[in-house]
């Protein structure tokens, strides 16, 4: 006794396979037809070639993946730290906060430097976007966005505009006006439209184009003047959290990282996914190219940062430590690419030696998650933004040990360090 008796109302030749079987009454475009249950399922699985089922496709996908890993492993003849053995180790690094920019009422979510090496734009959870002259710590412009959680902000290459966006699913460009009486929000240009939150945005080589990534799983390239979508990039199966443009000669590619644990490299011209890397164990929060453009680093919720090489087409280094348990939210390289700064959700910033794979410094001082870390364009300093409302500009002094200060007390003590040639 089974449910089949309910499904099988009639028994006879199936309209599709002509075999005598219990038939199901189904409606195709309002026409009643009698198919046997097998044919009904086959119809539901249209799109599969003969002999294929979801299972066989899955199996094929898996075998290809393993083959790919084998191919990648074939040319892997040496590890990075082995190659780096002959290099001098870095000495003690200690840091001092040089500027503390206080003014956001809520969590600082994103920060970007201007090409003039001293100005910064920052955005926060309360919807405020502030442009600072970090050198003098003066606030130069402030905009209040109509939405909260402004997760992305970027400075235009010319220094004349800033772009920002977040939960409003849009990216808006604000031209910076020096007229004190002018309301910046009046001249705002709505450029990008996504179907979910905006996670990251970046201008390309000019003020005219913006690249955005969104929680809807896509990245897109937009024309600023017209707001037209120039190219869209599909391939992530979950939210895209971060993107970075390649500093290459041809300037045509960028990398994106998302919640599907994948880091994808895209061709901006064709919209194709050129390369894909999937070795992280959790969401990738941040991606950043190595200064030469041949590799990129990622920071992820699995508490590791990894380095992927584009020519070798594989992961070449992992930066992790047992004592680091919380995810890395943001990464950036120093100018020479020797140092990797990573901000973590356990309120610290770890500085890694890229070549040797060791950690050279750990920086405390923030009272909440570090949401963003950015090195200045000429490499003289880097700034970190955090959920404790401030962001600090730091500079690494090689050879001096200093107390960590948080606005109130400053201590200096000299520490004998080995000299570097």
């Amino acid at each position: 006794m089974c449910d089949q008796t309910f499904l099988a109302i009639t028994f006879g030749p199936c309209d599709n396979c002509s075999q005598n079987k219990p038939l199901m009454n189904i409606y195709l475009k309002n026409e009643p037809i009698n198919y046997c249950s097998l044919c009904v399922e086959l119809m539901a699985c249209q799109g599969l070639a003969k002999g294929e089922t979801i299972h066989t496709l899955k199996a094929e996908s898996e075998t290809l993946k393993t083959k790919l890993e084998e191919e990648r492993a074939k040319l892997h003849d040496v590890e990075l730290h082995q190659v780096a053995e002959k290099i001098e180790a870095l000495g003690q690094f200690v840091m001092k906060t040089r500027r503390t920019l206080k003014g956001h009422g809520n969590k600082v979510l994103c920060v970007d430097w201007c090409r003039d090496k001293r100005r910064i734009v920052s955005s926060s959870q309360d919807g405020k976007v502030i442009v600072w002259d970090a050198y003098t710590t003066n606030k130069e412009h402030a905009v209040t966005m109509p939405c909260t959680w402004v997760m992305a902000c970027a400075y235009a290459p010319s220094g004349c505009a800033v772009a920002c966006g977040g939960l409003d699913n849009k990216c808006s460009v604000y031209p910076l006006s020096l007229d004190k009486n002018e309301n910046l929000a009046a001249k705002k240009k709505s450029v990008a439209m996504h179907t979910n939150y905006l996670s990251s945005c970046s201008f390309t080589n000019s003020d005219m184009q913006i690249l955005t990534s969104s929680g809807d799983g896509t990245c897109a390239l937009w024309d600023v003047e017209s707001g037209q979508l120039l190219q869209s990039f599909h391939g992530h199966s979950a939210d895209v959290l971060s993107l970075n443009l390649a500093p290459s000669e041809t300037g045509n590619t960028f990398v994106s990282g998302g919640c599907d644990k994948k880091a994808n490299v895209w061709d901006m011209r064709s919209g194709q996914n050129v390369q894909s890397f999937e070795t992280h164990e959790s969401d990738i929060n941040s991606v950043k190219y190595y200064p030469s453009g041949d590799a990129f680093a990622t920071g992820s919720d699995d508490a590791t940062c990894r380095l992927y090489d584009l020519r070798a087409d594989r992961e070449v280094a992992i930066y992790s430590k047992e004592s680091i348990i919380f995810g890395a939210s943001s990464v950036d390289f120093s100018l020479s690419g020797r140092l990797l700064f990573a901000g973590y959700n356990d309120y610290t910033i770890n500085v890694w030696d890229v070549l040797k794979g060791t950690r050279v410094a750990i920086l405390f001082g923030h009272e909440n998650r570090v949401s963003t870390v950015r090195v200045s364009p000429d490499g003289t300093a880097f700034c970190s933004g955090s959920w404790d409302n401030t962001f600090d500009l730091r500079n690494i002094l090689y050879g001096f040990a200093l107390y960590w200060h948080q606005g109130l007390y400053i201590g200096v003590l000299h520490h004998p360090v080995m000299s570097v040639p």
Binding site: A44, T53, I54, R99, N138, E249, S292, A312, N395
Partner: protein, 454 residues
């Protein structure tokens, strides 16, 4: 609507008041006097008690709520969708048909509002029962769910199988009619709580799987470079750039953030008379470094003018402008480029090979952002392989390198508590505003930070 499931005093909030409303209606539908007339329905050889037809339901709704046919059908459909009424003939098709197809009321035990959690364990027991009753009875998506559950709750699998067997044994002891009814109810319940994967979903998953497979095939065919070569290049890069990295090796005269002295920025600005030695050295690292520095680009242009190949660099710049400029201006810009650089007999004709020239001219008929890419690439590599190395060996470069400044290191202030005045600099926005007024391009950014207040 909010995502909070607990109210202020910690009590479980009622989800979806629409469910209560639906239930009230269902109860009144079952009223012996005013409700729907139920009868026995014959299904093959068994008689199902208390069944009704779809038409009955629709008519009752029309009468009760004074609504139109269409609306009644729509409302009735919602009852079926949420599992309060289930069809007998095609249980998998949860739709209401206003004809003589049979429906039954779902037992209150299975109502949505009881919030009986449709847990994985229960679903596993249900699927196991089905599987045990007759092998191969599970359809595709159920098979997948079954396998997934088997993996996920493997540790309780013995319990699942045992429960399934027990429930089957208990049901065998019931009357046939009751058994069928109970099976129908259970099946309807699970159809609502674990809806079958739709054909569209299957199509979508097969589509994505196919693209992934395609992508992996292409990746397999890619040319890869040995790790040793790639990794060596990082070491070389880091070594080469270390003197230029202020964090690694400090910068001369001093780091502005530490000493509050912006000499470093002044000496490296665009418009300085004599560049620093480090800066000039950096131009020799790669062609891109030379082009990225405005001063370097100017020097290179001067050199090319001497060589009578300045049009190459101008062409490259114009192509960059097309690629990164406003979309609206592309046709006119491309036209300009054609007139100046590509047309036969043009004033600054660039030497491209015939194949590329043909392709470009063809593309010019329908100008788009990347139409000049091939030609630009050709000229770029021409300059990189030919003019650039010669420039580095030229007198012009060598002289500049010899004359370049090595700044003196500024000692940190003797009195560390005496802070230097931090001067502000004109905002780049201001600089370009005036530049715009003069009709110049938008690419300059000055930071000639002399003391000037904003």
């Amino acid at each position: 609507m909010t995502i909070n499931t607990l109210s202020q005093d910690g009590v479980q909030r009622q989800q979806m008041p629409c469910l209560t409303k639906m239930e009230r209606m269902i109860i009144s539908m079952q009223d012996p006097d005013m409700g729907i007339k139920l009868r026995n329905q014959r299904l093959l050889i068994t008689v199902i008690p208390h069944a009704m037809t779809g038409l009955d339901i629709v008519e009752w709704l029309i009468k009760k709520c004074s609504i139109s046919d269409e609306e009644a059908l729509h409302v009735g459909q919602l009852f079926v969708k949420y599992g309060y009424i289930y069809p007998l003939k095609e249980p998998r098709n949860l739709i209401l048909k206003a004809d003589d197809s049979s429906y039954r009321f779902q037992t209150p035990y299975y109502w949505m509002s009881t919030r009986w959690p449709a847990s994985e364990l229960d679903y596993a027991i249900y699927l196991a029962k089905k599987n045990i009753r007759k092998q191969g009875e599970l359809i595709e998506y159920e098979k997948e769910c079954y396998n997934a559950l088997h993996k996920r709750i493997n540790h309780t699998w013995d319990f699942v199988v045992m429960q399934a067997r027990e429930q089957l044994r208990a049901s065998k002891q019931r009357r046939k009619g009751d058994r069928i009814v109970l099976e129908c109810q259970e099946q309807a319940y699970w159809l609502v709580n674990r809806p079958p994967v739709s054909p569209e979903h299957y199509k979508l998953t097969t589509l994505t799987k196919n693209t992934i497979i395609e992508h992996n095939r292409i990746s397999l065919a890619r040319n890869r470079v040995k790790s040793s070569i790639c990794l060596e290049s990082y070491v070389k890069y880091c070594e080469q750039y270390q003197p230029h990295d202020p964090i690694m090796q400090g910068c001369l005269p001093s780091n502005p953030w530490i000493t509050d002295d912006i000499m470093f920025w002044n000496m490296n600005s665009e418009t300085v008379a004599l560049p620093t030695k480090l800066r000039v050295e950096r131009w020799s690292f790669s062609f891109m470094e030379l082009l990225n520095d405005q001063m370097g680009r100017k020097e290179f242009l001067t050199y090319l003018e001497k060589e009578f190949s300045a049009e190459n660099l101008c062409f490259w710049q114009a192509c960059e402008d097309v690629r990164h400029g406003e979309t609206a201006k592309i046709p006119e810009k491309v036209d300009e480029v054609y007139k100046q650089f590509l047309a036969p007999g043009a004033s600054r004709w660039v030497n491209i090979d015939s194949k590329t020239m043909e392709k470009t001219l063809e593309g010019l008929k329908r100008p788009h952002r990347f139409v000049l890419d091939d030609a630009q690439m050709h000229i770029y590599f021409l300059m990189k392989k030919d003019s650039y190395p010669r420039y580095l060996k030229s007198e012009l470069y060598k002289n500049l390198l010899a004359r370049a400044i090595v700044p003196q290191e500024t000692k940190k202030s003797v009195f560390p508590f005496m802070r230097r005045q931090r001067h502000s600099s004109p905002s780049p926005a201001l600089a370009t505003q005036t530049a715009e007024d003069d009709g110049k391009a938008k690419y300059s950014n000055s930071n000639s930070g002399t003391a000037s207040r904003l």
